[in-house]
Assembly symmetry: C2
Homo-oligomer: 283 residues x 2
């Protein structure tokens, strides 16, 4: 059974008493755990005896107050699920506990140019909020490794870059996106989809597959790859495309002719629910 702790002090006490020879794994989450999160917890447990699953709906990374207010919360269910997957500590602080100096904090982690493109352009301040809360969790947990899903690919790139640029002594591990049988990437926001929207939602994955097929057929032009993905989303009446992008995988750099590892990324509203997805391909 995972121990549920609500304060920094209690977390520190538990970690101080824990066996450290294998290090500590951290899986930062906003709760509403699904099989994607649980795969991260299991990956962490495979490498460390001590696995902290943090459960914190971070106000700082919500640009949309309505999205924050409607974010699903089920702490008891989440603790049981995390424990079942191998978490030994669930850290679920209040906003006041995690932001003792007030939220938003005065000092924050600036993600730099990566914070202004794609998700950063669509959700101003989002990646700054992510970077800041992850930096705080890294400081409180001092993990050996931290696990992030590739589903939020840009977040993974920002966190990796933060660890490099701020010399944080943690290994950032990216784990594959977990999908429904029809290809829809698992997301805590999927529960908001109506039955008709749910049937339409795999269009994001189909768009990525169309982009991947074009790349495999030899297409290297960014605009063509993006057009191929956009066309698929455009054909779905319930979906409204926000972006379809092809970028270098390592740093999301935008180049006209792609070579090497490439990430295809799409964001779209399905009904009123905003969904994102991505896929890695070789060009």
């Amino acid at each position: 059974m995972a121990e549920l702790v609500r304060t920094r002090r209690e977390l520190s006490r538990l970690l101080g008493a824990a066996p450290r020879d294998q290090g500590v794994g951290l899986v930062p989450t906003m709760g509403a755990l699904h099989a994607g999160h649980l795969a991260l917890v299991a990956a962490a447990r495979a490498q460390q005896e001590v696995v902290v699953c943090s459960i914190f709906v971070n106000p700082l990374q919500f640009d949309d107050p309505d999205d924050l207010a409607r974010y699903p919360v089920d702490l008891d269910g989440d603790v049981a699920k995390a424990a079942g997957a191998g978490a030994t500590i669930c850290f679920a602080p209040s906003v006041d506990e995690l932001y003792p100096g007030g939220c938003p904090p005065q000092v924050s982690v600036d993600p730099g140019p990566l914070g202004d493109v794609l998700e950063g352009a669509a959700r101003p301040g989002h990646l700054r909020g992510v970077a800041t809360v992850v930096a705080k969790l890294f400081a409180l947990v001092a993990p050996t490794r931290a696990y992030f899903g590739e589903k939020d690919y840009q977040q993974l790139v920002v966190v990796r870059r933060m660890a490099l640029d701020l010399s944080l002594p943690v290994e950032v591990v990216g784990c594959p996106t977990v999908r429904e049988p029809d290809g829809l990437a698992l997301s805590s926001r999927n529960v908001r989809l109506s039955p008709a929207e749910r049937r339409a939602a795999p269009v994001l994955y189909r768009a990525l597959q169309a982009g991947a097929a074009a790349a495999e057929a030899g297409e290297r032009r960014r605009c063509e790859l993006e057009a191929a993905m956009a066309a698929v989303v455009g054909a779905e009446p319930l979906a409204r495309l926000e972006y379809a992008a092809a970028r270098l995988e390592a740093d999301l750099e935008e180049v006209d002719t792609l070579e090497g590892r490439v990430r295809l990324l799409v964001a779209a509203r399905v009904g009123s629910t905003r969904l994102i997805d991505n896929l890695g391909v070789a060009c």
Copy 2:
């Protein structure tokens, strides 16, 4: 004798082997050590057996390339001085070693509103550079306590706020400014003063004393306290005032009528050398 290490790997190895029961003290410096720095090292050594003195001229906190180029460097002398004062490890990385992802880094620590006033207004980017490098040193050394001189008072406030807002598990200790017999605050830049400028330089401290005398006489109006200080600097032909400010001590808030702990701060050019000083008073 202090051990001199030039790489993160060697630092990590030394710290891993060091006795940790008293924790680790950190004194971040840019070298050119004077008695002010050595007082910080001695304060650290009084509380911890392991004291890291970092010596790194951080390009990120220089807004003026000429100031960076002319910053005095004497690594061998600095290591000997730091060891004499009680440092056990001197960490003197190269720029490439401390910024493996390149300098400037993409991800940085944003000091928020505190980074835009006083020194932040006079030296754009300076406090972001300070906050970022200090966050990196905190991550690499994992100190129990870190020691900063009150001489750079705004820097101390920013670092304290950073530790609070980013949940960094370190106690930030402020130590009193060390002065020459005539009141001039010790600074690595004092060596740049000509003999005549050196004789004029204590005008900053005299200005602070004039402000303090006004406060002790009951003056609470910010403008009057600032005018009293400005008048003293204005009477010195070799000095050119940049600012004379009275602020709340805890957070440097600017209020019209001061009450409680107040910080008086002045910045001025003496000849071409920029000097700063400050003094705490009760209002």
